[in-house]
Subunit: 419 residues, 2 copies
């Protein structure tokens, strides 16, 4: 059953295909409607935070959180995030319900007002480095501002640093956007060496900015999670404090639709961002900040809470990995990472087959993330990468969806091999 | 006591001044610490909405409001605002906790991507018309984007339309920002004729945009409130649907720090804004939208709620107006409007005296809105306008603060007259 497809004869492949088609048609007959497209927490995960609605009182740090004021967040909420992220509260701004907005607004600020130099809108060209595969919404932000995206291959320990160090010699390369821990979609955590090499970079552009989207900073699947070096501990060695803008949020800790986000940056960057914020808002939602602080108590409270998420998520990841292992390993048609946290499993199938896998899945009622979405401009040149989001469907549904996915991968590859 | 100051002899003025100085020093001895600077609701107003915290359930319109998704707001919340504002739900986007952010983000969008024409950042100059006195935070937004602000005088029925019709012949004049009902700070509501004249404008700039900040749309002080013509009922007659971006919020209905905002616009503008929003966020806080809908039930529920605010605010406005009337009328040194709603009383004192009034008040422990803030660039050329915000202090404190303010106005004017 686990022979390399490439070594099989046409006859053997056709025989294999017939078996797979029978299984595929059986699935189709079930009329499934399953969704593995987005990294949405399941309803049982959301239930974990319902106690937040019982938080009473509205005075926090002596402030009536119901009223106007306090641009950068209530002190207790800034402290909570500072403790979680290993920085000082003065380097934290509490944001709206989505760190995506913090990233968009920061790029927008660079575009309209620059990052200490010429506003990017006044430049003939602005380029960003994008480790791939990556997060489609990052690419959407950059594309919105006409920023040219350059693919950087991901390796097992982070982005290809040789390539990055070459590209940053170009002054038009103004930044990089990445998920340093449990990268979306591969679940790769940048090694200490990679973090240090990033912190030590000397880009030609003095206003080079790295959007360090630490979306999965404490999102381990079990006690055996990855450790990410705190880049803000390393940057000062190289005088590069201003190079990194870090963001995170409780979207996948409490509620995706009603969490709290945070931005971490150097004193200079915080001052520049606050200047813009002072025109953009009077304050973000302080009642929600207060609810979060009261519900968790402190950083340890958040970490304890994450174990409950892990208990729900781990069996889902295991379920998908079990199917991948059982059906795809040893056939030379697919490879994947076994992530220790985050929200995705990244599956690389035989070149030229990913789109077809997506079509086959869709036809049988299982929606995957649009194939190509993990690359800038939606273009996966190898047509190879598939992002699997196991968090939302219940585990029984996932069982079916993952099996179907594996059938589709095999079918698509055989179709390809048979030409 | 109510002789015109201008008709008084120097001796009479000096005698008057001595009496006022005695009163002023008595106030100073009290060591007051009162704030009439910002339009903040009082704590008793915030208490009116605490029931919102008891809202349970998280499924609205079949959507789990805790999770990702629904870019433009849950349908029931869109309907609530549509009913309140007299438009269709399809023309409503529910925003974050502050309409200020909706305005900033829209101007930012025009700056980076234009409003159907050249992005404003690519133009040598962009100008906006600003009815004055006006809202300082509007001016801060425009100034942030380097938009040149042009003062337009307010008349008793709205902005000086003759001036506006002249200015819009200039293609660099790209818009206007205004508060059409209970204007900040004068409390003037644009007359039907003015609204119609605005709706009928033919600006040289095809991408002319009016930011119609309807912050006080239902904020009457009693049953005798002003009626503002719905500009979206008039715009189609002139094919000008795309000219107006209206915003409003529950900042002064529920919680300033944790309300819900809304943007109302034409189909074309909604589509353009959603395109940007799709890069900026996944959704605004839907749990808060749900809380608001459940708490109010419908538009009538909101209107009933506003009567409770009026019952708290009316005595405060009356208190200030009583002092103004008693101490300042008939002396030829000050004029003011008697607003039927909104959050401010606008006091125009003898030219060249407003800053001095602010200083005298501050010295005696009463903080007013920075004099000049009601004009673009903080420049009130006549040094005449003072914005009084009576909402936040308890009525007993307001009694003291308003009396002190009146003393300071008289003192400053006498100082000026005595040279």
């Amino acid at each position: 059953m686990s022979a390399l497809y490439s070594k099989m004869t046409a006859q053997e492949l056709i025989a294999e295909k017939e078996i797979l088609e029978k299984r595929y048609n059986n699935f189709k007959a079930k009329g499934l409607k399953l969704d593995m497209s987005r990294g949405k927490p399941g309803a049982d995960q959301l239930d974990l935070s319902m106690g937040m609605n019982n938080v009473e009182g509205y005075i926090a740090d002596g402030i009536d959180v119901r009223n106007y004021g306090i641009l950068d967040g209530i002190p207790s909420c800034k402290k909570l995030f500072a403790d979680l992220m290993g920085v000082e509260p003065k380097n934290v701004i509490i944001g709206p319900n989505a760190s995506l907005t913090l990233m968009f607004d920061y790029i927008s600020q660079c575009y309209t007002h620059g990052a200490g130099d010429t506003p990017w809108c006044k430049l003939p060209e602005v380029k960003f480095l994008c480790p791939v595969p990556g997060y489609d919404r990052h690419f959407t932000i950059l594309d919105h501002f006409g920023i040219k995206m350059i693919n950087i291959d991901m390796k097992a320990d982070g982005p290809d640093m040789d390539a990055i160090e070459e590209y940053i010699k170009d002054e038009a390369v103004k930044g990089m956007i990445c998920v340093p821990k449990y990268s979306n979609p591969q679940g790769i955590t940048f090694s200490n060496e990679v973090v240090k090499r990033i912190a030590a970079m000397k880009p030609a552009a003095k206003d080079f900015r790295i959007i360090w989207d630490n979306a999965y900073c404490i999102h381990d699947l079990d006690d055996n999670g990855d450790e990410l070096l705190n880049i803000f501990d390393v940057l000062p060695e190289y005088g590069n404090e201003d190079m990194v803008i870090e963001v995170c949020s409780t979207s996948k800790i409490t509620f995706p639709g009603a969490g709290v986000s945070a931005l971490i940056a150097s004193d200079n960057n915080i001052a520049a961002i606050k200047k813009r914020l002072n025109a953009q808002t009077i304050s973000y939602d302080k009642m929600n900040q207060h609810r979060h602080v009261q519900f968790f108590g402190d950083a340890d409270g958040v970490r304890e809470h994450m174990k409950k998420h892990a208990a729900i998520l781990k069996p889902k990841f295991d379920m998908v990995l079990r199917h991948l292992d059982k059906e795809l390993s040893g056939k030379g048609i697919a490879s994947w990472f076994d992530p220790k946290g985050g929200y995705f499993i990244s599956l690389d199938v035989m070149e030229g087959c990913a789109k077809r896998v997506g079509e086959l899945c869709k036809e049988a009622g299982v929606v995957l993330t649009s194939v190509g979405a993990t690359y800038p401009y939606g273009i996966d040149a190898k047509d190879s990468n598939i992002r699997i989001a196991p968090s939302f469907p219940p585990v029984e549904e996932l069982d079916l969806a993952a099996e179907l996915l594996c059938i589709c991968v095999q079918l698509a590859c055989i179709e390809k091999l048979l030409g």
